[in-house]
């Protein structure tokens, strides 16, 4: 349901929920177009078609609405992953499917992806902390791979999972930068190899990756 702009007789909390949603959407669009630094509350308010008073009742400023936009994107992504990746699948397939969901989300909504993967790193201390926290959410699932290794397998660096989250983020950022000229399927396979190779070895990781295709 889209709440019309202007005066209406709806309950205040429903109105502010929808204004919040419009502001978050406008933040994504404006930051996508201008970058975080150049984006202004003025531009966001105009794009959201809300009043300044309404904006400042919901947010303290640009940093605050950016944080809300980031959290929105992260929670939507979490929900997509939970819905589309079955925990019944073997671990390696879960990782591959999860990465496929991420790549397809980037293809479908590149502005949201850019905000979460690129802008969040340059939007101040707090935004960077949130970005790190979001990436850390993947660590426990990745670390399940350690239990799958043969006894006597070579020791892994303690930073293995961090290298995967940051490495996959880098690969996804490259895909975003490439835009039209990028290949989602190639990106997906590269990211899957990076994620699986430390635990399964290069050959087995490549095998899982080769079966994946991004829509």
């Amino acid at each position: 349901m889209v709440v019309p702009t202007g005066r209406h007789g709806l309950p205040a909390d429903i109105v502010s929920e929808h204004q919040r949603a419009r502001i978050v959407a406008a933040t994504i669009a404006v930051v996508g177009a201008e970058g975080y630094r150049a984006a202004t509350v003025d531009q966001i308010v105009k794009a959201a078609k809300v009043g300044y008073v309404a904006f400042y009742e919901l947010f303290e400023g640009k940093e605050d609405c950016f944080a809300a936009a980031f959290e929105r994107i992260v929670s939507d992504t979490r929900a997509e992953l939970a819905e589309r990746v079955s925990t019944e699948l073997p671990w390696a397939e879960q990782i591959g499917e999860g990465l496929r969901v991420l790549v397809e989300l980037i293809v479908a909504e590149p502005e949201r992806a850019r905000l979460a993967l690129v802008e969040a790193q340059g939007a101040g201390r707090e935004a960077y902390r949130r970005y790190e926290e979001a990436m850390d959410e993947a660590v426990p699932k990745l670390a399940e791979g350690r239990a799958l290794r043969a006894k006597g397998a070579p020791e892994l660096s303690v930073a293995t999972e961090e290298a995967t989250t940051t490495g996959v983020a880098w690969i996804l950022q490259q895909m975003l930068a490439e835009g039209e000229s990028g290949s989602p399927t190639e990106t997906l396979r590269a990211a899957t190899r990076v994620a699986l190779a430390p635990y399964l070895g290069e050959a087995a990781a490549a095998k899982v990756a080769a079966k994946l295709k991004a829509r």
């Binding site: 630094r37 660096s157 930073a159 490495g167």
Partner: protein, 204 residues
């Protein structure tokens, strides 16, 4: 405008950015801490940003010289990369404010500063990519491996440098394991974890 004034202003900028962040640091704060008039700041730097970038460039030059020097002293890979890594750890130990400024604080100065910071990391791409020449199966290693590893190293270090008690030297084997593993295989990577640090040679 003297070299001493410029140096005092840069030192003050460094001190204040470490203490309270770039955003909360004003030109007048910097001038006051340096013990000079605001007009003296304007004579040295066109803007707050220019001063911050000057601080970064100053550290980066020294950092690169030390790290490249260490790399050049070892003939083979990964020994040279390992030497460079320990040189980085040593530099971080001897220049904690410079390390924090360049790795963490520069991210929130400006877009130009961000680009400078990234370029600073990228000077070491070649040291990582040199692994391809000694890899058993170079064609199996994706073309963007060095870029990806460099990106990961930068983020992993940035995260740790923000914390209170990071031991860069203790972390070198962990990072070496990741890089060497990518080029020479998991056994070679794991061997890095067991290689002790070089003996500490304190310059007198």
């Amino acid at each position: 405008m003297s070299a001493a004034t410029r140096a005092a202003l840069m030192e003050a900028m460094l001190e204040l950015v470490i203490e309270r962040g770039y955003e909360a640091t004003s030109v007048s704060d910097v001038a006051e801490l340096a013990g000079v008039a605001a007009a003296d700041f304007d004579a040295c730097f066109a803007s707050k940003e220019e001063c911050a970038i000057a601080v970064f460039d100053h550290f980066q030059a020294d950092f690169e010289e030390k790290v490249r020097g260490a790399y050049a002293r070892e003939p083979t890979w990964p020994d040279n990369l390992r030497a460079a890594s320990y040189a980085i750890a040593r530099w971080a130990r001897e220049n904690p404010r410079g390390m924090k400024f360049g790795t963490v604080e520069m991210m929130w100065v400006s877009e130009a500063a961000q680009a400078r910071r990234v370029a600073g990391f990228e000077t070491f791409l070649g040291m990582i990519e040199a692994g391809r020449a000694v890899a058993p199966d170079p064609d199996a290693i994706p073309a963007d491996t060095a870029g990806r590893l460099m990106g990961s190293m930068a983020e992993i270090l940035t995260r740790r440098i923000q914390g209170k008690s990071f031991d860069p030297e203790g972390f070198v084997p962990e990072l070496m394991a990741l890089i060497v593993g990518a080029y020479l295989g998991e056994e070679a990577g794991a061997r890095e974890l067991a290689i002790p640090p070089p003996p500490r040679v304190e310059q007198g």
